[in-house]
Each structure stands twice: as C-alpha cells, then as structure tokens.
Amino acid sequence: MNDRRRPSSPDARGVMAREVRDSVVIRFAGDSGDGMQFTGSQFTLEAAMAGKDIATFPDYPAEIRAPAGTTYGVSAFQIHFGGGDITTAGDEPDVLVALNPAALKVNYRDLRVGGLVVVDTGAFSKRNLAKAGYETSPLEDDTLAPYQLLKLDIGQRTLDAVEGLGLTQKLALRSRNMWTLGLMLWMFGQDHTATAEWIRGKFAKQPEVAEANVAALLAGHAFGETVEMSSDVVGYTVARADVPPGVYRTVTGTEATAWGLVAGTQAAGIEKLMFGSYPITPATGLLHVLANLKRFGVLTFQAEDEIAAICASIGASYAGALGVTSSSGPGMALKTEALGLAVGTELPLVVVNSQRAGPSTGLPTKAEQSDLFQAVYGRNGDAPLPVIAAATPADCFDVAIEAVRLATKYMTPVVMLSDGYLANAAEPWLLPSAADVPEFPVTFRTEPEGFHPFGRDPETLARPWAVPGTPGLQHRVGGLERDAESGHISYDPENHQRMTDLRAAKINGIARDIPHQDVQLGESHGTVAVVGWGSTFGPIYQAVTRLREAGLSVSHIHVRHLNPFPENLGELLEGFELVLVPEMNNGQLVSLLRSKYLIPAEGINKVSGKPFKVSEIENRVRVRLEC
C-alpha cells in the first residue's frame, strides 16, 4: 500500500474510521480448484463499479487441475486498484490471500515487506503442508516475519455460514473463496451486491449452491464489520480514480479483440465474419467468445488443425466474408505456409496471434513477445504483410478494427499480435458507441467490363475483390506466380520481378495511411527514448513516469504499427541520444529498428514468462544512464 497516510475520517457508513490509500495491490492465491480466477474477477468488477481504476494479472498453471495442494497446481489472480491511472497489475502485492500452504509458498516472497498475509488456517493440515513441501508450518516459524499475518479458519467459518443449507461438507467448503471475497470487499470498502446477484444468476439451476455462496459472501463481509473494533482486521478506503464520465465495463483483451473484429467487419460493410480456429492456449478464448456472437454475423469453425483453420478462413475471404484466424506458439508456425498463399493471392485475412512463451510448446500459459520476427519474416520467399500490436486489453478493440481496415483496404493478410497476458487481463473500459467506429466500406468488384483480377488501385495498389457468384467475373487464382494483369500463371522473369516489387510497394505504402508516431510521455527529443510495443505498455509507462518524476529526460514511445513503421519513426528516434527497447523476448523490435534506421538502439530484455515489473525497467534505465 502506498504509505502516504491521510488523517482518518468517518467513512460513508459513519462508523469507525478507515485508513485511506491511493491504490492497493491484492493477490488471491489458492488451488486451481479454489476458484481464484472467479474470485479475482468479481473483486475487479466491484472495484471497477466503485469508480476505481484497475489492472489485473491472472496467473494459472498449465495443468487443468493438478492434484490439490501441490505447488504447481496453484492459481493466482492479482488486482491493482485505486486512483491515479493504473496501467500495471503492480510489482508487489500489498495483500496476499493464501487459501493453502502451497499458495503461500509460491507467492509470499513477492509480497512487499510489511504487507498483509491472510491465510486459511483450516487448510494448513499436516497433509497439505507436506504436499507443499513444508516440514514445519510457515505459520509457526519466522517465515512470515517480514509481513503482517492474519490467521483465520476460513474453512470453519464458511461451514458455519452455510450450515442448515444441507450441503455436503465437500460442497460447502467450495464457498471458501466467497467468504474470503466478502472479507476483502469489506476490508477495502467495496460493495457486494453485484457479486451476490451474479452468483444467483450463475447458479440459477442449483439454488442451494447459489445460496451457499451468497451466504458465505455475506458472512465474510459481516465478519469484517463485527471484528472491526479488534485490531487485527483493519478497513481501508481506497481512492477513486477520476475517470471520464460514461458507461463502463470490465474487459479482457480476448473480449475486446472479438468485439473489435465484429465492429471492424461492420465498418467494412461485410456481412459475415468467418472465424476458423483450432484450440490452443492462450488463443482459445477468442474462439469461445466469438462462438457466442452469432447474432452479430459471426460464424465460428473449429477446424481439425491450425492449417485447416487458416485455409478455411482464406477460403471464406475468397468467397467474400471476412476471414479471421487465431492461434499461439506452435499453432502460428503451422499457419506460415498458408499465410504465404494469402500474400500471393492477395486476399484479406486477419490473423490474431496470442503470443506465449516459446520455443516450441514452451510455457503455454505464460506470456512472451517472441513472435515478432516470425510475424514479419517467418515465411518462405519475400512475403511482406502488415503487423500491428495491441497495448492493453481495451486497446485490442481498436487494434482489431485497424487490422480489418488494413486487410480489406489493401487486400492482404494482417497479423495482429497480442499475448497471453493481454488475452486474460481485465481493465475497466469506457465503452465506445457504435457511432465512434470509423467506417471503411469495401467495394466488391461487380463490373465485368475491363476486369483484371490483378489490376490495381493506383492509390493503394490493392487488387479488386471479385467474389465467386458474381456474374461475368469468373477467374482463377493460385499460389503460382500470377501475371501482373490477368492473374494467369506466369513464369516470365520480368513479371516475377514486377510482382515482387508490387507486393513490397503495396505493404510499404501503408506507412502513408497510418498515423505518425506520437510520443506517449515526455518530449519528442531528449536523452532517452524508451520504445516499446504490445503489452509492455503498462510497465514502461509507469517506469517512464517515475523516471520523469525523478527529473530525468526520458520519453515513452509506444509503437503500434510494427510493419510498416510509421513514416516519421526514424526521424523521431534520431532526436534521442539513447534508444532503449524493453521487450519480453531476446531483442526483436530492437533489431528491426537497428536494421531500418541504423540507430544504436539497445534492448532491455526479459524472457521469464512473467511481465516486466515497473521497477525492473526503471532500474535498467537508471543503470544504463549511470554508466
């Protein structure tokens, strides 16, 4: 917790004073089976609805449901909420809720010194301690000395709360997380009605389960109130963010991407969005969300593999729908051959890559930014295509729309880079209205007169979109090099040179059709430019803020269009003595910048499957400036 204390004052409910905080970071941790993700999201929702700004970081294991109580089965959800603009889930939790020994073991070290640990003593049985690899209980020795410790038999209190509802003990204990949530909501002065409603909605078919969860929730909340006077549970009031007025919701990158794709399809005036995909972590969520958007003209196709998925999507685009496909890691590798065909036949296609830690299977549930090279360079032959990346969960909405715009206006596949962190993280979002979405209607070719399948718009160099079923436009396209006019197979050397140049010119030309690169924070020239892309936006933004507060001449530049780059990017970077590029990879954007602009940009790299901490970037910049 931010330690700047304010004089305590009677809070809303007029009872005893609460301490006041600018912002707080809580991490809920428990077994995969304990519903921590759900608990976290509900807390997020309540906090967001109370006008707090928010960033979250869900972190769950690759195993579906590893044996209860083991360290590798621990699931955690971190939320950073409060006033000011919050762009990261926070470096160090102020509060750790640990529902079993394994959860404690995996997480307590991250806690800020002096932070609060809440544990369910009921779960610290010999067996569970053993499973977590504890000889002696960390609650007894001085393991937790550096922290405040709040020991509660949450299990027992939950059982008491749901008593009389006639649930088995096993089932009853499932509500532990709700009791805990209730307590945390109280502790930070949050409401709980939305959650209660939500529970009743979700378990409509099992009223007894619904009631048990609500009862536990209320009990946990009430517990806070009743023990209020005692010293060991203190309440806090957390600042609201002064966010612009309007209608809000919480949104994950996955949801925002799905909605952006639909909005983009509409903006392009296309009737059908055909999403072909094959499940893979962390991309799968997009398939799940889109499968429920049929009402909005979305058709989803779960293919037999990633190759069939992208091929079906290309086929759909060929037939006049917006073809979209999505994958991660190994699945993206499998799409590269077909991507080349989309480049060669010049058909629109959006490919969403939710990057995960590699190489190969790597760490499926961990985020990384190591597919940038693949997106820009990873095909056989010279096969250029646009690459863009989203910065935050909500930003996925705009970036998805931009992907559709580029794909349809330039008749090209577009790679949209997201990652496992963006996909699952949530933030409050001031909802745009349909009216805010830019329009970029496509025109399908219908006029047979003077039709050349590979004739081009002089402006964009895009070829016409001529859809099967259109009278008089019958033609053949394929992967063999095409004559620059007729599209017939051509082995002519000059034609191949010409087509190669045209393909390159078309994509490079997009640089004229995208906004100039702006500076996120700070001046447009100075000592250091910290240049980032994708989900590192948050930590870089905070780090630069701190560095600037410390009076250093540091600016933050966030690049959304990675191929081609904005026209002015090179010039802009020339204006800085030092260009530092933090990336969750071994140095990919930095090498693109060096190659294109011949500037001695340097990387700040982290490849651990975890997002950057603000302090990590801040320190690396400081270190670099000292020497």
């Binding site: 919701r249 909005a263 055909m274 958007l293 349909a434 079923g469």
Partner: protein
C-alpha cells in the same frame, strides 16, 4: 440461355502431357456441367497441388489453385461463407491422401456439401514419379529404387472409414459412366467422394489396365446399380453372393451348378458394410466395383451451421447492433 460443354473450357492452354488421362476427365467434367446446365459464375473449382490440381485453370468457372493437400479446407471456408455456391474439389492421390489425408477425412466426416474428385494414378506425377500412398507394393520409383514396401491405402475404404456418406468410383476414359457418376455426386447433398482411376502415361502407364483394358473390362469390372443383383462378366454370366453364414463374398456363375440369379446379392447403396466388402474386391480373383458404392445422405454441415445461426438470431454483421454487443454483460455509469 443454355451452356454447352465447350463453354466450360477456359481460355488457358491445357498443359498436361500428351495422352494424360486428365484430358478425358476434363472433357467428362465439362460435359457433366453442360448436361446439368449449372451456371459457371456460381461454380467454384478448388484444388491443391499436382498435375490433377491444375484442373481449375482449364475451367471457365471460378477457380482456386491453393496449396498442397489443403483444398478441402479452403472449400469448406468457401461453402461456409457462401453456401449457395456449387463447390468441386479436384485432387490427386498424393494431394488428397498423402499430405492432405487429414483434411480429406475431416471434410467427409463433417459432410460439407461439395464434390471431391480424386484422380488416382497411383503416383506423384508433378514431382516426376515418386510412389504415392496408393502405389502397390514393389512400385519402382526414383525414391524407391528397390521397390516400395508400404501397403497401399484404398481411397474408398479410407473415405468409408472416415464415415463419408457418398462414395463412388469411375474410370478416366469411360466417359458415359464417369459423367453419370459425377452427376450422382453432384445430386448428393453433403460431401461426395469420387475416385477416378486415371492413367499417368509418363510415370505409371497402364497401372490400371488389369481392369480398364478393353479386353478384360467385361470380366474385371462390376457395375453397381442400386437394388440390382451384383452381376458382371462379358455376358453378365457371373455374379457375387455371400458365402453362406460367413461375412465374405464369392464369385458364382449363374446357371452353373444350380446358381439362380435370385441367389445373387442385391446392391444396396445404403449398406455401409456391403460397400466395404465391395471396395475390397479386385484383380486377379474379383472384378473392380465401379459406380456408386455407398450413398446414405445425412444433413450437411453448412446447412446445420446456417440453422444454428438462425436459432441464435443471427443478423448480417452489417446491421449488427454493436452497442448491444458491447453492453451485454455487467456495465456501470460514471457521471460528472
């Protein structure tokens, strides 16, 4: 206005080897479409890579020459985007059964409405004659100088195993028969699989002659007709019956030692097990079964998808209510 066979020929010069069986298939296809009076602009030919896969370039319809083995996936996307299109997939034994085997079995299983025509010349033509998954054991090829050692795959057996609902066979040069089979495939709603025995004059000449040569055709071809007895032979003197009490077919001669026509098995297109018995037949002891081996329609994939779209109250994206979409779920208002 009617379309003639020649109207289905594109302006592109046909580039197969002189004498290739593909020419005959091309002609048969053009005749079929003319007979059916389909609209060229509502028809799409989709192919992978191979000699066979060059087919779309020679048709005046829409055509998509895609990548090796993936044509069924592209065709599925086309059909999902525009179900009203008439979609044909042209593939080869390598394209459709080697690299493309997985898409083949899944498009059949999904039963997407399209005609899949596999030109089986038991060789990789375009890459100059390596053995393919349908090549018989011992096939000498540049990659098997001592002869291939793998058991060949039977395209129709695989299709049936993948739960295809329409499986048929014909021969490149038997135009009338081929045209009939293609019409049946076209009439079938759902995925129809047609294997055409095709001759590669350059790399596998005469590979099918044991049953396609004029001289032997009569004795070595069994022409199937639904509901009719399984008769064959130069003078239709022979027939097939079930070995009493066993799951096995045997050749008998009608008239000889008391065998009556009524003893012969009747062809039943809807009996999957009979189909698999017939598919296994072949030289030297049995004739090759040609025609419609199996036809047992089921609702097709793109139709069911459309139904679910309707049930879900789908609108075109163009008049989707974006605001409703974004506000579906928990929202809250922040005021000044």
């Amino acid at each position: 206005m009617t379309v003639a066979a020649k109207d289905f020929a594109s302006d592109q010069e046909v580039r197969w080897c002189p004498g290739c069986g593909d020419y005959a298939i091309l002609k048969a296809m053009q005749k079929t479409l003319a007979d059916l009076q389909v609209e060229p602009d509502q028809t799409v030919f989709v192919s992978g890579i191979g000699c066979a896969a060059r087919f779309p370039y020679y048709m005046s319809t829409y055509g998509f020459h895609t990548i090796h083995g993936r044509a069924p996936a592209f065709a599925t996307g086309i059909k999902l985007a525009k179900p009203e299109l008439d979609v044909w997939v042209i593939t080869g034994d390598g394209d459709g059964l080697s690299i493309g085997g997985n898409h083949m079995i899944h498009v059949l299983r999904r039963n997407v409405d399209m005609q899949i025509v596999l030109f089986n010349n038991e060789i990789y033509g375009l890459t100059k004659g390596q053995y393919s998954p349908t090549s018989r054991r011992g096939t000498l090829s540049p990659s098997t100088p001592q002869g291939s050692i793998e058991l060949p795959i039977s395209p129709c057996a695989l299709a049936l195993g993948a739960s295809a609902r329409f499986v048929a066979r014909s021969v490149d040069t038997r135009q009338p028969h081929l045209v009939e089979v293609l019409k049946r495939a076209h009439a079938h709603r759902g995925a129809s699989f047609v294997e055409i025995f095709q001759n590669c004059v350059v790399f596998n000449d005469g590979v099918h002659s044991a049953f396609t040569d004029k001289g032997v055709a009569g004795d070595m071809q069994l022409h199937l007709e639904h509901g009719k007895p399984l008769r064959f032979g130069r003078d239709a003197e022979k027939g097939l019956r079930l070995k009493p009490g066993a799951v096995e077919l045997e050749v008998v001669t009608v008239g000889e030692n008391g065998v009556k026509e009524s003893d012969l098995l009747l062809h039943d297109e809807t009996n999957r097990s009979l189909a698999s018995l017939l598919i296994e037949l072949g030289p030297p002891h049995f004739p090759v079964a040609l025609g419609v081996l199996y036809c047992n329609p089921e609702s097709s994939y793109e139709k069911d998808v459309a139904r679910q779209m309707d049930e879900a109250g789908a609108h075109p994206a163009t008049d989707a209510d974006i605001d409703t979409m974004l506000r579906g779920g928990r929202t809250w208002e922040v005021d000044e």
